[in-house]
Subunit: 269 residues, 2 copies
Amino acid sequence: MSHVFDEAITVSVGDDGVFHATTHPAYSNMVGPFGGITAATIVHAIQQHPDVLGEPLAFTVNYAAPIADGDWELHARIVRTNRTNQHWIFHIEQNDSTVSTGSAVFGLHRPTWGSTEPQPPTAPAVETVEPVEFPEFIAWAGNYDKRFVVGGLDGSASEDSTSTLWIRDRPERALDYPALMSITDSFYPRVFLRHGTYMAAGTISLTTYFHATPDELAAQGVDHLLATARAARFGNGHFDQDGQIWSGDGPDAVLLATTHQLVYFKDPQ
Amino acid sequence: MSHVFDEAITVSVGDDGVFHATTHPAYSNMVGPFGGITAATIVHAIQQHPDVLGEPLAFTVNYAAPIADGDWELHARIVRTNRTNQHWIFHIEQNDSTVSTGSAVFGLHRPTWGSTEPQPPTAPAVETVEPVEFPEFIAWAGNYDKRFVVGGLDGSASEDSTSTLWIRDRPERALDYPALMSITDSFYPRVFLRHGTYMAAGTISLTTYFHATPDELAAQGVDHLLATARAARFGNGHFDQDGQIWSGDGPDAVLLATTHQLVYFKDPQ
């Protein structure tokens, strides 16, 4: 039996090289599909390309308009292939309209000096933290086991927009680049936490940097990830938020991805 | 007399809507032009477009290949205009080859609730910090007055990749969006600081979020900005670094922009 995530990111390729995808009801959001599943589908599609070089390193997607339920087309092409990296641009078409644009850099992992400067957040053991459910109108969240260490949305406003949570696909699924991509967009808008309520808000532009090597993904397997996010500045209808995805807590934890987004919001009426 | 920055970001528009620009020797870098001046030129060009909506909010540029000294073409187009924001994509062509790609979101600043969570770094007064000069092969840096509070490149390795500096254009120039764009790419690669030496390194992908309103830019005028940057993870040939550009220090400082980039590097031989 296939995993619902694999069903959702499925693409087929036409003779013209255009990828065809379809929204999956299990990953719907308040308006249109969850952005993370759209981004994961793009990463997955590029990985299928016969000329792809290496693994994803940097990925930016701009959500210009909501995707409607149904079929959509991904137009992706290689702009330039260098010795160790490859530049892609893409856009999503639906009903003769461009609804998303973006770019991706894929490339090779070469052995070099390494160092990670930030520390993972401290967190109690996964099994001691209760999973929480989001309301039904956030369908996609049902496909994640989410255990908030801080910053769960419990209805109270917070002076600090930080959320830290243990997260993995539900049912369990071994981590790969599409799954990691999706999880980097799984933080709910930080403005909800500051106000303690759902509000009109949506990601405009998302950038993820993949630090994980294929070996690090394999070592992660189905274990919970430790994810943390925080906003910088809110104001004038927008805010940005930054996130980190760690393999776990403690001194040996690996920083698998960093992620940034600009979000649109409206004041609650 | 025109400012060298304005000379460098000058564009002309052809009948076909293509923008024409030329590299400026005052902003050359080790290989090709300083990425910040390229990005600033793109922001400036989009601002000239008769159909532009509002001001820059999010900007991503991918440096796929070095730009050679001389003329280059910017192909920029509006993908979608929403009620309060507008999505652009662009690429740079030179000698029939695509050397950069990217996307920009412009939009309106609407009055909403606001809050800034991070604090600016602490810093001594501008006039008590000595400006430093970079070597001549980093020509562009000569157009900035740079006063490092921490993390100046003095030849010693550091365990912490943080640099904090007072910076402004030299000669003085009132801050605008192109100037702010350029300054978000003015942090030298963090790997230099960790190793205490210049190394082969170059930005692959840069994303800047503009928080500054036109009024905040006007209030800044020619005053020094307080800029800070730090890396997250180095390894396997790449690292990412994050930066913040503040209007100054202290409790009333305004966070004008946040910025992120993925950088390629080679170990020193």
